[in-house]
């Protein structure tokens, strides 16, 4: 059996409300909250980035798995906001967590899909028998241009998953990926903010790939939507994952626990992985979980998980997503937010 033996998530304590952003730009807050189904989003502290978020999430995963970090043979961090352009985030993470130096480390980049990609590669290494454990992480501190619709959603957070073969808490039964050249969202080298193609990000991009990967995964697994207890899709806003679920035949109830975007925002590479962590926090042995990520450019990775008895033992060993979403929040005004997100030009 190959699957998740430990998982952890991390969300910063800072928040900004959709109203606060709307007020700054003279936009209609109620229309935006209704349209995007977003209430507030996480904002990284000034001393937080993809590396620190990954470290805290992976710490939770190690606590849950209760393994010797030295036995982890590979570490992959998927993000579109790696702090260094050249120097993998994982190099810092392994030294912070006592992993390695006998370890394979790499960076994954694929817009919002980089996290599920890291999980997929980690899983494949363990499945091939190449190593005992592998760590896959999705984390981001994403930026939306001021006044752009993305500013209401782009947030910070991440989740980490240790793949292994012993004491598996969520077995990976099937995977499927679906990819094509689709210019829906991009950031050119050296540009600070990403660009997107407006409405083109919907049907030809997000829905085509999620539904494409999702349908193939259902066919491959010979399972029907009704067989699943939970489903989670990439969450660029509140509306898209609900619509993707509807198109694939899932109900609102199946999406309930993973649908954390109204209070979290879009954590990009951390989005569906953190949704999965929120589901594992409440999952019971025997539950089937359906997950499909999406990364612009574009592609989707799909996974079918079956929760085992082990979940009961590991759930409470590290902080849960719900408690991080609901507790200890520090709200920022727009001025403080621009400082946190380095949107102000300063003298050197």
């Amino acid at each position: 059996m190959v699957g998740i033996v430990g998982y952890g998530a991390y969300l910063p304590r800072y928040r900004i409300k959709a109203e606060t952003i709307a007020r700054q730009w003279g936009a209609d807050a109620e229309a935006i909250k209704r349209g995007l189904q977003l209430t507030e989003k996480t904002v990284p502290g000034q001393d937080e980035d993809t590396i620190t978020i990954s470290v805290e999430a992976a710490r939770g995963a190690i606590q849950r798995a209760q393994i010797d970090p030295q036995e982890i043979g590979a570490v992959y961090i998927g993000s579109e906001s790696h702090p260094y352009a050249v120097k993998p985030s994982g190099t810092v993470l392994i030294d912070a967590l006592g992993i390695g130096p006998h370890v394979h480390v790499a960076t994954n980049e694929f817009a919002c899909k980089a996290g599920s990609e890291a999980m997929y590669v980690a899983y494949s290494h363990v499945k091939s028998g190449e190593m005992k454990y592998a760590l896959g992480i999705g984390a981001d501190t994403s930026q939306g241009a001021p006044g752009d619709a993305l500013e209401y959603s782009a947030s910070a957070g991440g989740a980490a998953f240790i793949m292994g073969t012993e004491r598996v808490a969520a077995e990976i039964l099937f995977t499927h990926s679906y990819t094509s050249d689709t210019p829906d969202f991009w950031r050119r080298e050296g540009e600070f903010y990403p660009r997107h193609a407006g409405r083109f990000t919907g049907d030809p991009a997000y829905f085509k790939h999620i539904v494409g990967a999702g349908q193939a995964l259902l066919e491959k697994s010979k399972l029907a939507p009704k067989d699943f207890t939970h489903a989670v899709f990439h969450m660029p806003n509140g509306k898209f994952p609900q619509e993707a679920g509807r198109r694939l035949g899932f109900t609102k109830q199946q999406l309930e626990f993973g649908w954390i975007v109204p209070l979290m925002g879009n954590t990009y590479s951390g989005s569906s992985p953190t949704g999965l962590a929120a589901i594992l926090d409440v999952a019971n042995p025997g539950d089937l979980i359906f997950m499909v990520s999406f990364g612009s450019g574009a592609g989707s990775d799909g996974f079918v998980y079956r929760v085992t008895e082990e979940i009961k033992a590991i759930k409470d060993r590290a902080p849960k997503v719900r408690s991080m979403l609901d507790n200890g929040k520090i709200y920022l005004d727009y001025g403080q937010y621009t400082k946190h997100r380095h949107k102000i030009k300063l003298n050197e």
Binding site: P12, R13, D47, E48, T52, V92, I330, E348
Partner: protein
């Protein structure tokens, strides 16, 4: 901070690795070359507990150059559960509510940046628990 010094201090800054004197057991943090208690020179590495409490603190309102954008911020002397004392910035906190005896945990954060193009320096900071 230059790369060689940063790299040398990674075990203590990332993982709280201290030096335990092999003759008298005294723990030095940051690790020292000579034991402050028995002047021994043989040490073994030991990891400190990441939980503790604030012994005293101050609010920095005029920071050194690299910290000037973070003011005001709190710096505290912390006693870890194993008795070791260290100084750390307290992050993610409402400064008005800080008090002596407050329970804290050390977490992994970015401490400073070596300008716009230099290395990023990570290490421990305290959060209230």
């Amino acid at each position: 901070m230059i790369s060689p010094r940063y790299a040398r201090e990674i075990p203590q800054r990332y993982q709280l690795v201290a030096a335990r004197c092999t003759s008298c057991g005294t723990i030095g943090f940051p690790p020292r070359r000579v034991c402050k208690h028995c002047r021994g020179r043989q040490f073994e590495p030991t990891k400190l507990d990441s939980d503790g409490k604030i012994l005293t603190f101050t609010i920095i309102r005029v920071g050194a150059d690299r910290f000037s954008k973070q003011t005001p911020y709190a710096v505290a002397v912390i006693e870890l559960n194993d008795g070791t004392r260290l100084t750390a910035q307290v992050t993610d906190c409402e400064l008005e509510s800080l008090e002596i005896g407050q329970k804290v945990r050390l977490v992994f954060r970015k401490i400073q940046e070596d300008g716009k193009a230099g290395i990023l320096c990570y290490g421990y900071k305290a959060i209230c628990v």
